[in-house]
Symmetry: C2
Subunit: 279 residues, 2 copies
């Protein structure tokens, strides 16, 4: 697990790094970013994972997410992975919502995707080991969040791994890919037509099937163009209510789907996770 340092920049009383490694999960090189606030020698900090949305790499949130001030204030390490395998050997299609930039945090079973599109294993198994081995993190204190497709990722990874995450939140998540065009295309493409196999990748289905969270914070913009057709926040509200999950789901008036929205509420989310990630 050799880590190549792509860049480091001092920022907000900490170090913003970008790193590259050979992933055994995806069979490709993978790039991710990590922000580490200044800390005492030997200190281990809690870690907040951020999963990005369609078309993004680690760079979008790293440049536009405005998380560093809050992470430095609360002493939280922030990790931003890529959204899919990359490289010339990786199969792709001409679409913004499938294949490269659109891994949907699944382990694909269909061809030609199954070899490289293994973002579930990458996020759940491999990258945590890489982060634990190379950064001053306390892996007993992890939170996860994400945006849109990455909000779906945060919810489903969090629901499937309740022992790993103390806190789960999301920005404008795809709450039920089984019930929207983006999700049907992605899950059908990566997993094939058997919808029973899709349920492990659908937050509302996971909750219906018994998965639970101790709490949940979601922010959603009311002016988000994708709200009605793709995101369907109300399905998550209903699922949490039926399951007794104490969820704070906020409709933010006038905000859209962009990083102008995400950055506006990032400090809130970091503080919310920080409260739950105390020693």
């Amino acid at each position: 697990m050799t880590l190549e340092t792509v860049s480091t920049n001092r920022s907000h009383n900490g170090t913003q790094g970008v790193y590259n490694h050979a992933s055994s999960a995806t069979g490709t090189a993978m790039t991710f970013s990590v922000f580490v606030p200044d800390h005492e020698p030997g200190e281990q900090l809690p870690v907040l994972w951020y999963l990005s949305g369609l078309t993004c790499t680690h760079a979008n949130v790293t440049e536009k997410g405005e998380y560093r001030a809050a992470c430095a204030q609360h002493g939280i390490v922030f990790v931003a992975p890529d959204t899919s395998p990359r490289g010339e050997d990786v199969p792709d299609v001409e679409a913004y919502d499938f294949a490269k930039g659109a891994g949907f945090y699944v382990d694909a079973t269909e061809q030609p995707w199954a070899e490289h599109y293994r973002m579930r294993s990458y996020i759940e198994q491999e990258l945590p080991q890489v982060v634990a081995a190379n950064f001053p993190v306390d892996m007993a204190r992890q939170g996860i969040t994400g945006h849109s497709m990455g909000g779906h990722g945060a919810l489903t990874v969090g629901l499937r791994n309740p022992a790993r995450f103390r806190s789960v939140s999301a920005f404008s998540p795809i709450v039920s890919p089984m019930n929207c065009p983006w999700g049907e295309k992605a899950l059908g493409g990566y997993l094939g037509p058997d919808r029973a196999a899709w349920r492990a990748y659908d937050a509302c289905a996971l909750i219906a099937d018994g998965a639970r969270l101790p709490g949940l914070l979601v922010d959603q913009g009311s002016a988000d163009n994708f709200l009605a057709e793709q995101l369907k926040t109300h399905l998550l509200e209903e699922a949490c209510k039926a399951a007794g999950i104490p969820a704070t789901i906020r409709m933010q008036e006038g905000y859209d789907h962009s990083y102008y929205f995400i950055s506006s509420f990032m400090a809130d989310h970091v503080a919310w996770h920080a409260e739950r990630l105390k020693p």
Copy 2:
């Protein structure tokens, strides 16, 4: 002075807009961004100008500058112009440090630059009128800041217009273009060989020639690759000391020339201006 709205996004309890207009100063279309925090009907807010550095447009600081939270907190309008005229009719060269993206905030007198490269007139005369006519601003309360070439712009525009600006600050400014390769290339190219004409565009020369500021805040990264050859912060320290200008010039340990640096101290600068822009 018809203004075309390119985009607006709700962000940090305000509106981040991007606008386009036909500039008479440059004879081209010009794009700039404005953030307006929520405010009472009829209220007029102070305005902070931000001049960008080499290669930038309005977009760099708008996406990466992390100014909106602080501007919303303090009730300040933030205006980010472009760094040069643009368009196919505008002469250009193959260089990152001259012509497009590198207007240096001068009114060029040399050919073929003199027709369009009139960023001094644009920033000092035209754009303030456009902003005053279209946004809820109190033009009696203006501050100016900027980065690198834009730090040079903020210092020189501020020094030449003491009645207009109550507050001037800069991030890693080119403090004396007459004494560095970037500046010699730009001023020589735009203004010709007579160095006497350059003095109006050199902060240290303006101070030596009698221009004054009521105060000054400068942040400079100690790990900035351009510090020794291009920026030469010590020349500004010496000029302010000799002139009795009360300047706070901070060397920030380990920070470089990037937006990772700028964004780290942006909230400090906004607060510093806000203190001086109170009614």
